[in-house]
């Protein structure tokens, strides 16, 4: 909502400093997001045309002599509407600096245009930012009304009512009253300790008495209330009445009012009105239309003007649409309507979508003489549904769906009719129509003083409470301990005691609330484990050298297909794009895409982890969200030193992945995982480079090299992506059941270390050989560790050489060589016999 400070000053009678007001409005919930200044530029004065002639060569240019009150200047002007000598225009002298709409400045200096020295510029409203949309330069003699033309040399700021500051207020949706200046002015008055008074509606100059045959004799006739005297005059309303209003759906349209102005003339609005609409961001059109917009910006209540002569059957019918019914709105679009949409119809068909937009045929045009002004109250929910369904967000729908004041209809009608008659030279009818089948009354809310203090936490005098509520327009009865408050109908957000308490503290000032710190009583039903577990996982992964990624939880079906992930998905019913249209069932797509990006951007290698959820449909319940730790490696593996000036580069392989998995799970649990053959190889995995991750015999996840075709699908063809997925829900349960690690007994006697190298057939795993060595070596074997693996030259085809380090220890006594030799020989023998191993 744009708010004119000048207008707020007029409405409140307060001086209002701009920075202070901005701060105060922001503090009471009317947040000022931006401030725009519309100052009259200096060195712009009224100029009088002394002569004009066509440029000898350039048809479109005139050579004009302008008197600026001091001297005559020669100016080249390209506008088509330079007036004849004696006419008055706005003249920017040399030295003026004009701020243009695009934010740049135009400095006026002497310059030669088409061979003629030009000193100064004859300006349009747009160039001076005092108006918009005007064709050509501003000419005083072309202005409506009979105000005297100011003398040449009068500065712009004195010649015209210009100069304003506009606040862009980010309104919260609970404050429809502040979608008009009166509502904002009421809050402004309140924070300056005053009670706002509605401005009186000045009577129009000429009023037609009675109903002039237009308004029928009915209970719905209503006299318009004006202050001051008007001249009574007769009007020719032949064929315009009697005009009927019928509401067929009173729940969607509780109130429909109409007023009439006859015999007006469409022309441009006076400058002050055009300028005000301009600074508030609306484009002026013509006097009759501009008035409806002006009163909307004043009261917050949208209006619609119909060309009375185009309304067929001399009636307005408010009804819901027939499913599939169409009408053309004034933006020239044909709209197809549903049975939930509310229409304004004349005797033959729809003329407007209620509260949203009017129709083309009945709008006020250049030849309109007689106007019917609509001021109604529509059910906010109904307008919102229609505007959402049709994708039409208008100034009117914006206000109606937030809730306008149903009870300001007579005021708004009187105001609009008077202003329209005044500016259009027409005659207002003294009575209008007001169909209000079910009156909407102010809500009664009981406010207990004790509750105010209990909720706010500090004591506040009853008089302050009363004064705050009075200033925002509440009417009160009863005593201070138990106030009966009648909330004004322009505040549809006030329903309960707490709403009033907020109003009290809002107007009183949030800065007066003391900052007290309560004691927190620990809850006996809390369970902090879940979060700290997630944190242990992430910190373990980061501590071993992985970067944490966070990917979008939604992906495209194509990506899931590429990842060979489950396509039993939870779909978004209203995705923003196909790219993000289903909830992920795997963390693979996000990490593989990140890896591809990193490698494209010349990262040598990628080492990422993500802790995130995958989503899986469940019948009749919310989907299942499984929490997963994913580790992804690809590209060049760095040495443990993180750089490569010592040692060469190699690519990450499966054993890097295994190492990361071991370290991370160790970091979380303090235990070693084992890899076992995976029973059901996941389709994304390389069938020969995959293992299930087991902890204490329970499967907690899977580690694998990507299937080459999957890698290729993600454009990772030059690298071998390595992915581990660990089910954190399973791991969390295991960790929860685990006893804390026991303190080990540390041996006090030295160990004896022996190495053994064996050449065995490839099919025997290192793990099985180590196991046999351990068993063969007997009770003295403390550990068996592989330290070298070789195949190739010197080793027969189909076999490989494995070197193990065996640590022997007797916890009770120091071992002798003789004892160790014996055990080591047994270990070697066991391996030889079991695997036909050859000792090297």
């Amino acid at each position: 909502m744009r708010a004119s400070i000048q207008w707020l000053r007029e409405l409140t009678g307060l001086e209002l400093s701009v920075p202070e007001l901005a701060e105060k409005l922001t503090s009471i919930g009317l947040e000022v997001d931006a401030i725009e200044h519309f100052d009259a530029p200096a060195h712009v004065v009224v100029g009088e045309i002394r002569s004009k002639e066509k440029h000898p060569d350039k048809d479109r240019l005139s050579i004009v002599r302008v008197f600026d009150g001091e001297k005559e200047e020669t100016v080249i002007c390209g506008a088509p509407n330079v007036p004849e000598p004696g006419g008055h225009i706005l003249f920017a002298r040399v030295g003026a600096s004009l701020l243009l709409e695009d934010g740049t400045r135009l400095d006026i200096a002497e310059r030669t245009i088409a061979g003629v020295a030009s000193r100064g510029m004859i300006c349009s409203e747009t160039e001076l930012r005092i108006g918009s949309g005007s064709a050509g330069i501003f000419v005083f003699e072309d202005e409506p009304g009979d105000a005297p033309v100011p003398a040449a040399g009068t500065p712009l700021a004195e010649a015209l009512p210009v100069g304003d500051t506009v606040f862009e207020i980010g309104l919260t949706p609970n404050r429809p009253d502040c979608l008009g200046h009166i509502g904002i002015a009421r809050d402004v008055a309140a924070i300056y300790g005053q009670t706002f008074e509605m401005p009186a509606v000045k009577a129009p100059a000429r009023v037609a008495p009675g109903v002039a045959g237009v308004v029928p004799e009915s209970a719905e006739r209503r006299e318009l209330a004006w202050e001051g005297e008007s001249e009574e005059t007769a009007v020719d309303a032949a064929g315009l009445g009697p005009f009927a209003v019928e509401i067929a759906d009173a729940s969607r349209c509780p109130r429909y009012g109409a007023a009439f102005v006859l015999g007006g003339k469409v022309q441009k609005s006076p400058f002050w009105l055009r300028n005000r609409l301009h600074v508030l961001g609306l484009r002026p059109r013509s006097n009759l239309v501009d008035v409806t917009n002006y009163v909307m910006l004043e009261t917050g209540h949208p209006l619609h003007g119909f060309d009375l002569e185009t309304l067929r059957g001399r009636k307005i019918l408010v009804r819901t649409a027939i499913e599939g019914e169409t009408m053309t709105t004034l933006d020239d679009e044909e709209r197809t309507l549903s049975a939930d949409d509310l229409l304004i119809c004349d005797g033959e068909g729809p003329v407007a979508i209620a509260g949203v937009m009017g129709g083309e045929d009945s709008e006020i045009g250049d030849t309109t003489r007689h106007v019917a002004i609509e001021c109604a109250y529509f059910d906010p929910r109904s307008i919102r549904r229609t505007s959402r369904r049709l994708g039409m967000h208008t100034d009117a729908s914006h206000r109606f769906e937030r809730g306008v004041d149903p009870n300001d209809v007579p005021y708004v009608l009187a105001r609009t009719a008077a202003l329209m008659a005044e500016l259009g030279g027409g005659v207002a009818l003294a009575e209008g129509i007001d169909a209000y089948p079910a009156a909407i009354a102010a809500e009664r809310i009981v406010l207990r003083h004790e509750r105010v203090e209990a909720l706010l936490g500090f004591s506040i005098p009853a008089a302050t409470v009363r004064s705050c509520l009075e200033r925002i327009g509440c009417v009160m009865k009863g005593d201070s301990e138990r106030l009966e408050v009648y909330a004004p109908t322009w505040r549809p957000d006030l329903h309960i005691e707490e709403d009033l308490i907020e109003e009290v503290v809002r107007i009183h000032g949030y800065e007066h609330v003391p900052a007290l710190v309560p004691a927190i009583r620990p809850s006996r039903s809390g369970s902090p484990l879940r979060s700290s577990f997630e944190r242990r996982v992430k910190e373990a992964a980061a501590s071993v050298g992985l970067y944490e990624a966070i990917s979008y939880a939604f992906v495209s079906p194509a990506e899931l297909r590429k990842a060979r992930a489950s396509e039993d998905v939870v779909k978004l019913a209203n995705p923003l794009s196909e790219e993000r249209s289903v909830m992920r069932t795997s963390l693979l797509p996000g990490l593989a895409s990140a890896a591809r990006q990193a490698l494209r951007r010349q990262a040598p290698g990628v080492r990422l982890f993500e802790v995130g959820r995958t989503t899986h449909p469940r019948d009749g319940q919310l989907p299942e969200e499984r929490e997963t730790l994913a580790i992804f490696l690809a590209g060049a593996a760095h040495g443990p030193d993180g750089n490569t000036w010592i040692g060469g580069e190699r690519a990450y392989d499966f054993y890097d992945l295994k190492g990361f998995v071991e370290s991370v799970v160790d970091g979380i649990t303090g235990r070693r995982v084992a890899l076992a053959p995976e029973a059901g190889v996941p389709p994304w995995a390389h069938p020969r480079r995959v293992g299930s991750i087991e902890l204490d015999g329970r499967r907690i996840g899977v580690a694998a090299e990507l299937h080459p075709e999957v890698g290729e699908a993600f454009e990772l063809e030059d690298v071998r992506g390595q992915l581990a997925l660990i089910d954190l829900d399973v791991l969390r349960t295991l960790v929860g059941d685990m006893d804390p690690p026991r303190a080990p007994e540390l041996p006090r006697v030295p160990a004896v270390v022996r190495d053994i190298a064996l050449v065995v057939a490839r099919e025997h795993t290192a793990g099985s050989i180590a196991e046999v060595l351990g068993e063969g070596g007997g009770a003295l074997v403390e550990s068996v560790t592989l330290f070298d693996l070789y195949e190739g030259k010197g080793v027969p085809e189909g076999r490989r050489s494995l070197a193990f380090r065996i640590v022997y220890r007797d916890p009770e006594s120091t071992l002798t060589d003789k004892v160790v030799d014996k055990a080591h020989a047994k270990a070697a023998k066991a391996a030889k016999e079991r695997f036909q191993a050859e000792l090297r």
């Binding site: 503090s27 009471i28 919930g29 947040e31 949706p173 609970n174 929910r381 919102r384 209990a454 706010l456 500090f458 707490e498 709403d499 907020e502 949030y510 800065e511 609330v513 003391p514 007290l516 710190v517 309560p518 927190i520 009583r521 620990p522 809850s523 039903s525 809390g526 369970s527 879940r530 980061a542 501590s543 050298g545 992985l546 970067y547 990624a549 990917s551 939880a553 939604f554 978004l572 019913a573 923003l576 993000r580 909830m583 990490l591 990006q597 990193a598 951007r601 990262a603 080492r607 990422l608 959820r613 989503t615 449909p617 989907p623 969200e625 040495g639 030193d641 993180g642 750089n643 000036w645």
Partner: protein, 346 residues
Amino acid sequence: MSEALEKFRAGLSEIEGAYRPALEAAAEENALREARARFTGPSGALTELMKGMKDVPGPSRRELGQACNALKTAIQSLFDARLEALEKAALQAELEGPALDLTLPGRRPLPGRLHPITRAEYDLLDIFGSMGFEVARGPEIDTFARCFTQLGFPPDHPATDEHDTFYVTGGGEGDDAHVLRTHTSTMQIREMSRREAPLAVVSPGKVFRRDDDATHSPMFHQLEGFLVDEGITFAHLQGMLTVFLERFFGGGIEVRFRASYFPFVEPGAEVDVRRKAEHGGDPGPWMEILGCGMIHPTVLKNVGYDPEKVSGFAFGMGVDRIAMVRHGVPNIKALYENDQRFLSAF
């Protein structure tokens, strides 16, 4: 005198004369060891000489044996002295020699990093944890009821405009529809519905809105907090959040509470912070940090609490925004691109 005896004596005196220059000429340890070996090694001159002892007539053997041993000892002690001198010289040379090239890269353990959002989240959790709040996490997909209706959002109301919602398949109609939660406030309903007051909970997590432009990401992170007990007031809200903000931003900040609107609180407020003016300078610009308010009585009733008996406050903040402010991240999209160069920077 036998010839053998003569020869032995000559050999002995030759070694006596030779070993000192030889050992003293050795400039480093290996040469020194070699020099010694030439005399006392397995095939050294002295060793060889002593092998000829058997040829020496008996009476002289004792005397010559003693002389040989004395020579051996002398060689060894010269060796020891020389070795020590050489070691000292080597140490001296190292201490006075060229310094290391300090610019060669260090051998670092692999660096890993938590995502800046995670870091911000953990910092927030640490502070709230230290103040007595426990942590709860909930599902990212929830019912329309828990996301809106039970929080008191009026139906067909523009208050939901800022919560442009993703619906997912599999849910029912209206309240039973399944949505990607638009805020972590769903956790107010979830936690309060299953537990009794007193209750002090913070809940971080992912949230989703149908908004994708330069300043909006369709997925982002929030942290919700709420405290419900007997006698909790609006003044407590201001006190508690002021303590939090001072701990999070350190001292030297000003905190401003101003009126705002969220359907599930009343009164509602928005909280801004700025750096205090220092040394007569200007204060920093106000930054919007969080939204908060007293939990709406409708919400308390919806979870089965009696608003006349208990009251509470709730607050919510954007974790992404906090991470962005803290690290100077200009564009929210950067948080979700997972560019390793970006991720390694924090």
